[in-house]
């Protein structure tokens, strides 16, 4: 080690002052100076430490405080009016520490006497094991906790855990999903919550207090209940396998209500595994039948090649190879576009699609989001079944809703875009304002096309197959759809999927309602018919009558017919 002369001389000065034979006064001053420096250092360290503790102690104590909770605390889920759909309730759970138990037999006897649904053999096995900690029963009642506490068995204890409860039971099951025993979301919005970072928060130990902000959904609990009870009644009345309904706000894409019965109770999620109880609106894909004609007609009107005055030949059935396309309500004459829509002519819509060609048709459906998987907040979604080779025959059948299977929610999104002025808005389960929706929206058809489509929908309720849903005062418009289900590779004449898409009010659209019945049966009062006009449409009428006041749609009476109210307004403004 080589020192520079300067440091060497300083060192020697210090040495001399402390130990050398210099005068005492100088030595004393040096010693005091050293002591001052040493104490100053120590106090600086103490001050620094104090500042550090003052700034960090809060988070440390908070983390220590939540130590007795195992299951994650989850934010509450509220409906659009602030009603509780899902919340956490603290429940005690019973555990044992086998190493500290003195008399296993006595403990088993006492516990099974207090909690009758404990299995004695299993309990004995668990308590005799060599482990330090075993769960005996998750979620016991407060009363049971008190009784067991009074028994005073050593090595038995409680831990309070968060249990998710759904006060409305099955009412919103498919929408919010459910959680597992450890309070982790495994379906619906609950799963989405976990995916949004709740799981990470939990693993860091932060998600154990109740201070998380509640999540507000777009769903309206009252509307949800009204829709569900009408669908349950319809399912029983028409002896259908399943019934589903969806109500969306066409201006924002919010899903105000979504029901698919049979459903399950999220408080008892074992039922959810049953295949019959799937959510048919997002997880199932269906050929939507005539409902799709709305898309075909809109495509034709939007292309500019077809106007409301155009007419198509529906005199003879359309032959295509070995296939023959017929009309259900055959008119055997040349039909105008409004007639094609109200008579739901397969031949007419097929000719419309053929006029524009396969590629145009395909591009239009792609633009309308009907060919890609639709993803929303909830994880359940299904890929549409698109024909691999899309030829003219496919275009012919897809024009009237066969040969392309989509999730009903997807079809609703497409038809909403035809109603709301041509804006395709991705549907959401969360609250959304109109401004936010407009940012996401994509203009897919012109506003003029949208006006014409609303005219056609209203016309259908005035003169066509949707008359039974024309609830007085709400100016309903709608399109029916009856699709034959494929059974063993063939279209079945008796197994039908009927649907009805209604818009209300048709002149200033606010809500779109889809009602779907899976295999409804003909009844004496429906004169042996099982098509949409005899079941889905009247159900929609009942639903609209109950739901419209809840949604705040003001009834208006004595409105002029569609050609004067909707079409006249369009031509005067444009």
């Amino acid at each position: 080690m080589t020192d520079t002369p300067a440091t060497q001389s300083r060192l020697s000065l210090v040495n001399r002052l402390l130990y050398g034979n210099v005068d005492r006064e100088a030595k004393g001053r040096a010693r005091v100076g050293l002591a001052i420096v040493a104490f100053a250092c120590i106090y600086t360290v103490i001050c620094g430490r104090l500042v550090y503790l003052a700034s960090t102690s809060d988070s440390q104590t908070a983390r220590r405080g939540g130590g007795d909770i195992i299951a994650t605390a989850r934010p509450d889920i509220l409906d659009r009016n602030g009603e509780v759909l899902a919340t956490d309730v603290r429940m005690p759970s019973l555990f044992g520490e086998p190493r500290r138990i003195i008399d296993v037999d006595e403990a088993v006897e006492l516990l099974t006497a207090t909690v009758p649904d404990l299995n004695a053999n299993e309990l004995r096995e668990r308590l005799s094991s060599k482990r330090g900690f075993v769960w005996l029963k998750r979620e016991i009642t407060k009363e049971q906790q008190r009784q067991i506490h009074r028994l005073g068995i050593p090595g038995i204890g409680f831990r309070s855990e968060n249990k998710r409860v759904y006060p409305n039971g099955s009412e919103v099951s498919h929408l919010i999903g459910h959680v597992n025993i450890d309070n982790q979301g495994i379906a619906g919005i609950e799963k989405w919550l976990d995916g949004r970072g709740l799981a990470d928060l939990h693993s860091l130990g932060f998600a154990n207090d109740r201070l998380q902000k509640p999540v507000e959904l777009a769903v309206d609990l009252r509307v949800q209940h009204a829709l569900r009870s009408e669908l349950m009644a319809a399912k029983t009345k028409y002896k259908a396998k399943a019934a589903a309904g969806l109500i969306t706000d066409v201006r924002t894409g919010e899903i105000v209500s979504m029901v698919s019965v049979p459903d399950y109770d999220p408080n008892d999620p074992r039922e959810a595994l049953d295949k019959e109880r799937i959510n048919r609106l997002t997880t199932g894909v269906f050929e939507m039948g005539s409902t799709f004609k709305a898309l075909t007609v809109a495509m034709a009107l939007d292309s500019g090649k077809v106007s409301l005055g155009s007419s198509f030949d529906a005199r003879n059935s359309l032959r295509y190879g070995r296939f023959q396309i017929n009309d259900f309500h055959a008119q055997r004459r040349i039909l105008s576009v409004p007639e094609i829509f109200t008579y739901s002519s397969n031949i007419g819509t097929a000719r419309m699609a053929l006029l524009l060609g396969v590629d145009y048709h395909k591009a239009f459906l792609k633009k309308m989001g009907q060919l890609d998987r639709l993803r929303t907040e909830i994880p359940e979604s299904a890929e549409p079944i698109v024909p691999k080779r899309w030829g003219e025959l496919n275009t012919v059948t897809i024009a009237f809703g066969h040969g392309l299977s989509v999730a009903p929610l997807q079809a609703v999104m497409g038809i909403s875009a035809l109603m709301n002025g041509g804006k395709l808005i991705p549907p959401t389960f969360l609250k959304r304002t109109e401004a936010e929706a407009n940012e996401l929206a994509k203009q897919v058809v012109t506003p003029a096309t949208s006006d014409r489509m609303r005219y056609l929908m209203r016309l259908n309720a005035e003169k066509g197959s949707a008359r039974k849903a024309d609830v007085e005062g709400y100016y309903v418009g709608g399109k029916t759809g009856t699709a034959e289900k494929v059974v063993g590779g063939r279209y079945s004449k008796t197994k039908l999927l009927t649907s009805f898409t209604a818009v209300l009010p048709a002149d200033k659209p606010r809500y779109l309602i889809l009602i779907m019945l899976d295999e409804p049966q003909p009844l004496p009062e429906t004169h042996g018919y099982a098509t949409s006009g005899w079941n889905a449409v009247p159900v929609a009428g009942l639903v609209i009558g109950r739901v419209a006041p809840l949604l705040g749609v003001a009834p208006r009476f004595d409105l002029p017919p569609a050609d004067r109210l909707i079409l006249a307004a369009t031509s005067s403004t444009r």
């Binding site: 509780v84 956490d88 009834p555």
Partner: protein, 128 residues
Amino acid sequence: MIIRIIHFCVIVAMVAAATYVYDIKFESTMQAERLAKVRSDIRRERDAVAALRAEWAALNAPSRLEALAKRHLPLKTTDARQFDQLAGLPERPKPPLFANEPDPIGALLSIEEEKDIPTGSTGRQGAQ
């Protein structure tokens, strides 16, 4: 001598400082304990509130209310004709004159001569 006095003062000051520090330390421990207790109380209260809210939601569930209403009330589904706009309501009648007087009729009679003052029963016609 002066040094002794200084030493004495310093010792007294040290003892005083130690007492003061002990007092503060004791106080802060007390406060921390109280804080912990209040925190746990808050948590317990919040859990109780959550349990009550869940119970309220279950009791207030539309399905339960509908079943009860069906059983006990003679109500029917509202018809669209039963709604009306606020603008459709008739005009509110004008408040009678001298409503604040102890003897409104007497007060009205006392100005009987002035015929152009509207009365509660004749309403607008009298005013014109």
